[in-house]
Symmetry: C2
Subunit: 272 residues, 2 copies
């Protein structure tokens, strides 16, 4: 039998499913981990939602996503920190020990200025996260999202901020989709690993061609990312946590999700 | 009156126009420079085409594009070099002194291997280019094209190859669309400028949101790229050549191209 003990799937990957279906179907297929998107918690009690998942034996790997710190409007920067505090409290209630940060970017200012604002915001937020025992994971995003989603676009930029703050509650989320093109990827993984800063590892694939900038990610094996090689780098760097399948795909969201879950398991076994 | 003396427009920017219309309309609007795409020359005599453009007083800034060197198939790599020699001869006949290289990438192998193959190919091609007095300009492309279009995705990678070969016939094409996200952009422009290696400068804008990965580039001023700032960097680095408008846009290709040319001129005056 195949080893699914490190498989985690994001709720956004199977967006059409309600949380009760996620709990039941993941358990049924032997998928032990789940990362929960905040949208899934809308109009729901996070504590009860966490219980529904745990009752089926699932481990909640992370809450996705905080961040979106920068803005040319100082009022919005203050509001973003408050919103992130709410996300941290949600994580506590849900029972997730990690909050993934998609750090944000503002097209009205340079990515450099946005990065400074991200740094400032994390410095303010971190003591609160520490007090709540929630780890924050900075996820560098692909440069095609540098306009609005993340001014942190390389592992190096994430490692710099993480190095400066030097807290056991601040680390890195490595996502193969966002980082595979970076010639410094292996070196930066090693650097982060040496300090125990790799908090999470996300997989999907880069389709050739990619037809939609947001929602045309591929199943593992369907694209050009050397997933096995990158996995070996993060493992050699000391990471042995869950491997999280995070796929946004209009094509796969249209499928019967039961069928899709089986495809994910197969792709995980064959190509991760 | 405004100064259009450094304005150049790519034939691909106004793709619906025939070359005779390009010659006539550019001259009519006082646009002094044109960069010619190889598609434009299909089934045409490059020498006569060059003459049509020069007869209207236009300067031919570059031939676009050579490159696409890497392949996991060695036979295709040899064929690519032959194709690039044909492009160099076309440039000679057309009367363009610069061939822009979009270097290519093969999703069946890592970008690192593709870069090695690009380096090898340029080393073979360069003596031929020198013999024909055609300069080769490496254009780093945005990482979202790292799968098939270019394994050269940063200015640093281009500068490294250019530095190694150290020929007056090998330099850099800086395109704001491809490079604006790069935190090393200013430094790498300085480095290239110091050695006189900036051969060309391309402008357009990054729309927020961008709806198509290939053909939704914006007119200057329409997006989030700090074009003026990047222009100041290339000029401080010693570049004083044409500023080339290279926009692929389904939206603008649908416009009456006469109207679109006026919009380009206005955007050039206001935002470049």
């Amino acid at each position: 039998m195949s080893d699914l003990s490190r498989l985690c799937i994001h709720t956004e990957t199977v967006k059409p499913l309600q949380i009760e279906e996620v709990a039941e179907k993941f358990a049924h297929h032997g998928i032990p981990g789940v990362s929960v998107w905040r949208q899934t918690l809308e109009n729901r009690d996070p504590q009860k939602t966490g219980q529904i998942l745990r009752d089926q034996g699932l481990e909640i790997v992370s809450l996705v996503r905080g961040g979106f710190f920068p803005s040319s409007d100082p009022g919005k920067r203050v509001a973003a920190i408050e919103e992130n505090k709410r996300a941290i409290i949600e994580a506590v209630k849900l029972g997730a020990s990690l909050l993934v940060l998609v750090c944000g970017s503002d097209p009205d200012q340079s990515p450099g200025i946005s990065r400074t604002q991200i740094r400032d915001a994390i410095r303010i937020l971190l003591p609160f996260a520490e007090s709540q025992k929630i780890r924050l994971g900075i996820e560098p995003l692909h440069p095609m999202y540098a306009d609005t989603r993340s001014a942190i676009i390389t592992m190096k930029q994430a490692n710099e901020i993480i190095g400066e703050m030097d807290s056991p509650f601040l680390g890195l989320v490595v996502d193969v989709y966002h980082t595979w093109w970076d010639e410094n990827l292996e070196d930066e993984i090693k650097l982060a690993g040496k300090k125990g800063k790799i908090f999470a590892f996300h997989v999907s694939d880069w389709k050739v061609p990619t037809e939609d900038m947001l929602a045309d990610r591929g199943l593992m094996g369907e694209g050009c990312i050397p997933i096995r090689q990158i996995r070996s780098w993060v493992e050699e760097a000391g990471f042995n946590g869950f491997i999280e399948v995070e796929i946004f795909s209009k094509k796969y969201w249209r499928l019967e999700q039961e069928v899709y879950l089986k495809m994910i398991i197969k792709a995980f076994e064959e190509f991760v």
